[in-house]
Amino acid sequence: MKEMSVVKLSIITAVCLALCVVLPQAFHAIPGAGSIYLPMHIPVLLCGLICGWKFGLLCGIAGPALSTLFTGMPPVPVLPAMMVELAVYGLVSGLMMQIIRTKKVYVDLYASLLIAMMSGRIVAGIVRALIFSRGNISMATWATSYFVTSLPGIIIQIVLIPSIVYALMKARLIPMRYPHAEG
């Protein structure tokens, strides 16, 4: 993939950060949508996949913090656990895109995305069990809150995120990952 300049990477990260505040607000117009559709996860995962682990990590840490500062959501007691979860999404998705190179964009994207989504949930469960909700979280609660309640959000992420990245490449808003292979 042709490298993007630091300025462009920074601006894309800034836009993803702004979307971490704006998207949940748009989803809150739909009753109960925040915890089901996980709107804040989408920009963070996108940022990691497009801009790399450093910018993904920043987006994952600063996104929920900015949203709390501007809208009060997520509430402060939930914020640290969410920051850890989203930071892992941004970090791992970026790292995986750097490591996985199969010459097929969709395979790279799906593999990186799924590994990031899984790692984020596992790390979030561990930090909640050990630090933020010590003694108040069981395996069943973890599975329910991270997989069952948010199943529509998980499906939306799996369907949407690789397609958005590919469409952005096609629209030349970000460089093609394998320019020669895809003409």
């Binding site: 949508a33 529509p152 952005l168």
Partner: protein, 263 residues
């Protein structure tokens, strides 16, 4: 007419508006910590009085200050019911399937909802009384010391400041796209989850495209003007803190200390 979105800046000349933005961010941070420390009724009383006084001093109307809370009644109801139904199975009034409602759970539910409400209101008041540019500058200023431990604080500050300036623009565009999709028959309020999900997809994709197009245009414009890195750029200096800034900070620290003593 639409209500103002939560946290929208409302220009004014109140004492809260005139406070230094760095102090306002610190006040917000300390107040939130104080709210988290509350574990007695008197503690809640102190926080309610403190926040009510802040609203009065900011000259922001009560309805605007409570805007963020009234938008989220569903969220509060769910939190309250979940706590009531699951929090304390050993003190349950009755046990039905997986539900174990109890008085302890109900009190816990009220406690959580009250805390979240207080945090939302104070956040709304402070952000409504501070211009986004001021928040940006204050954030920049507060994270700058990170550069001494090797973190690119200037670049992070630049990213944060651009992100904050993008929020109102993207918010307006998102609202426009949502309304356009509703006009085309998107059913966000449908009771069926599949219909809701189908409505969400055509809303999210244009939002991302618009946002990335803006990012592309801005990066081209910045690079064309010779921008390469945030490090080493000059910026406007903050004016020294005034007596009112120190007083406000002292009061909020006092409130925090009171909460620690009450615990």
């Amino acid at each position: 007419m639409n209500r103002l979105p939560t946290g929208t800046y409302l220009p004014g000349d109140s004492i809260i508006h005139r406070l230094d933005s760095r102090i306002k961010l610190l006040i917000l941070l300390i107040t939130v910590v104080a709210i988290l420390l509350v574990n007695a009724l008197i503690g809640y009383g102190i926080m309610v009085v403190f926040i009510a006084t802040t609203i009065l001093l900011s000259r922001i109307s009560l309805s605007t200050a409570l805007n963020s809370v009234s938008n989220l009644y569903w969220f509060f109801l769910v939190i309250f019911l979940m706590n009531t139904a699951f929090y304390s199975p050993e003190d349950a009034w009755v046990s039905f399937w997986i539900f174990t409602p109890s008085l302890m759970g109900m009190m816990q539910g009220i406690d959580v909802v009250l805390r979240v409400c207080l945090v939302l209101v104070i956040t709304n008041v402070i952000t409504s009384a501070t211009a986004p540019l001021e928040i940006t500058k204050a954030l920049e200023n507060l994270i700058l010391p990170l550069k001494y431990i090797g973190i690119p604080a200037e670049q992070i500050a630049m990213i944060l400041s651009i992100a904050i300036q993008f929020i109102p623009t993207l918010s307006e565009e998102t609202d426009m796209i949502r309304k356009a999709q509703m006009a085309r028959g998107a059913r966000f309020d449908s009771p069926k989850l599949t219909e809701k999900a189908k409505a969400v997809l055509p809303m999210v994709i244009p939002i991302f495209f618009t946002a990335f197009k803006r990012a592309d245009e801005l990066s081209i414009a910045m690079e064309a003007r010779g921008y390469r890195s945030a490090a080493g750029r000059t910026k406007k200096k903050f004016t020294p803190l005034q007596f009112q800034d120190y007083s406000a900070l002292a009061i909020v620290i006092l409130v925090g200390i009171l909460q620690i003593i009450i615990r």
